[in-house]
């Protein structure tokens, strides 16, 4: 953790603002890739709180992302035409609405996390993984069948509110919150819960509550990431949030090293860039991607970027 986390956050927000200011001068393709990276970093860092630091294997992150994506898109689709009319609002007005929509998306995802977490966090290991996987699918199938949310066609014509500023700002906020949390006295309980549940309870921790808190915070940021994603792609369909997306995020966490925020950030960047870099090989792209993944996992099972001594024994 940087010695002055608040200052680091402020610096990161100013940096985001700066990048936004000069964004006209960048190649739009690179900006798009950077946006994709940012969204994946938010997803991976927030999942790392659940899977890495607290040691609860969740496979439902894409489900929470979809809740955030749908709800925030619904908010902007409803309010933007009523408030701003045909011409759209000023940058500040649109920014305000977007922030509201993102928070609504995050909070509803957090609420979904609470609903899923309370009954399922009594389970452990593979059982928890299966239940979260099931819940993720239930959420997706629900969206697929709700006509007012576009059904299988999804939602279209979402206003393009996601700018590089919002993405970088929320990347910074996510990293800030997760880092400060796990380094606090309260947050050490997450690590303790992972290390040994019985010992944690024996010293008086309410491990169930810790697991639920981790789950809810993780879901909140997944919802934010979903909102950013929706206003970036401008169209969302239920199939974009199926369990392969969850697994993609889990892979980032595992590759980065469970419970290692820096490693997970690097892994998220690497795994988002990889398919882009592999574009020239066209149809063999995903084959090569999968092959590289296998090689990476065989070479560094403890996490690609896990260099800390004594941490590998999970």
């Amino acid at each position: 953790m940087p010695p002055k986390p608040h200052l680091a956050l402020l610096a990161a927000l100013l940096f985001a603002f700066g990048v936004q200011h000069f964004s006209d001068q960048f190649n739009p393709y690179y900006l798009d890739v950077l946006t994709g990276i940012g969204i994946n970093v938010i997803l991976a860092v927030s999942l790392n709180l659940v899977n890495g630091y607290t040691g609860q294997f969740s496979l439902g992150h894409a489900g929470f992302m979809s809740v955030g994506a749908y709800l925030s898109a619904a908010v902007t689709l409803y309010f933007a035409p009523r408030w701003f009319g045909e011409d759209g609002g000023t940058a500040w007005q649109e920014g305000g609405l977007f922030l509201m929509a993102l928070l609504a998306g995050g909070l509803s995802a957090a609420f979904a996390g609470l609903l899923v977490g309370v009954p399922s966090l009594r389970l452990k290991g593979d059982y928890l993984a299966l239940v979260t996987l099931g819940f993720g699918e239930i959420i997706r199938v629900t969206f697929q069948n709700v006509e007012s949310l576009g059904g299988a066609l999804g939602l279209n014509g979402i206003p393009p509110y996601t700018t590089i500023f919002w993405v970088l700002a929320f990347v910074a906020i996510t990293i800030f919150v997760v880092t400060c949390l796990v380094n606090s006295t309260y947050g050490r309980g997450f690590l303790a819960t992972r290390d040994d549940e019985i010992a944690s309870e024996a010293v008086g921790l309410n491990t169930t509550r810790y697991k639920i808190v981790a789950f809810v915070i993780g879901a909140f940021f997944a919802g934010i990431a979903g909102g950013l994603y929706g206003h970036f792609k401008l169209t969302i369909t239920p199939t974009g949030f199926d369990f392969t997306k969850s697994i993609e995020i889990v892979v980032m966490v595992i590759l980065g090293g469970m419970g290692n925020t820096l490693g997970v950030i690097l892994a998220a960047i690497l795994l988002t860039l990889l398919p882009e870099v592999l574009r020239p090989v066209a149809e063999y792209r995903m084959v090569l991607y999968s092959f590289l993944l296998i090689v990476l996992m065989l070479a560094r099972p403890q996490g690609l970027f896990n260099f800390k001594f004594g941490k590998s024994k999970a």
């Binding site: 006295t185 992972r194 290390d195 024996a202 008086g204």
Partner: protein, 235 residues
Amino acid sequence: MLRITDLSVSYGAISALDGISFAIEQGAIVTLIGGNGAGKTTTLRTISGLLRPKAGRIEFLGEDITKLRPHQIVARGLCHVPEGRMIFSNLTVDENLAMGAYLQSDDELIARNRDYVFSIFPRLKERIRQMAGTLSGGEQQMLAIGRALMGNPKFLMLDEPSLGIAPRLISTIFEKIVEINQQHGITILLVEQNANLALEVSRTAYVLETGHIVMQGESKQLRTDPQLKATYLGG
């Protein structure tokens, strides 16, 4: 101080404890001995709320704690050092101790307990910034006991403190257990496979066999009991 009445616990269809009763007075060291699968660990885990009993009653300081959750029981001053040195291996020694004081809010008391832990286990102070997982077996056991002491217990339950520890350290740890009891008046319930050692330090003892208490009495007398000698003390 602690009163167990007709306690029965089962894992699914398999009964682990079948109606055991005993009481422990304030200030005592009481030991529970018995072979593998006798129900010793089950007894401790049920008292600390980690397991739910099928029937029976557990009273601590006159209060019924049978249905309380583990963290509520710790808050009442009943701390458990689990079997197999369950320390937080990815936290440092200092952080492990801080976790032990999780329910304490009085900073002065925490600092005093911390000094006390370091005074009985100076080894821990030397390794304060070290990851707990890299400590030796004996040091981990010291840390587990130290962590429980950080919770400012009135009653301490120790599960197999001698398990997997170098013989020389075992006697040190048992000396410290007696010291904790005598200097701080902390009542101790000790579960041990090493019956000789357990009977040496304790005042009263209960012998468990397949979920029943088969023998009880003063430790001094039990040590000379021919039947017990043959079964647990190696002749």
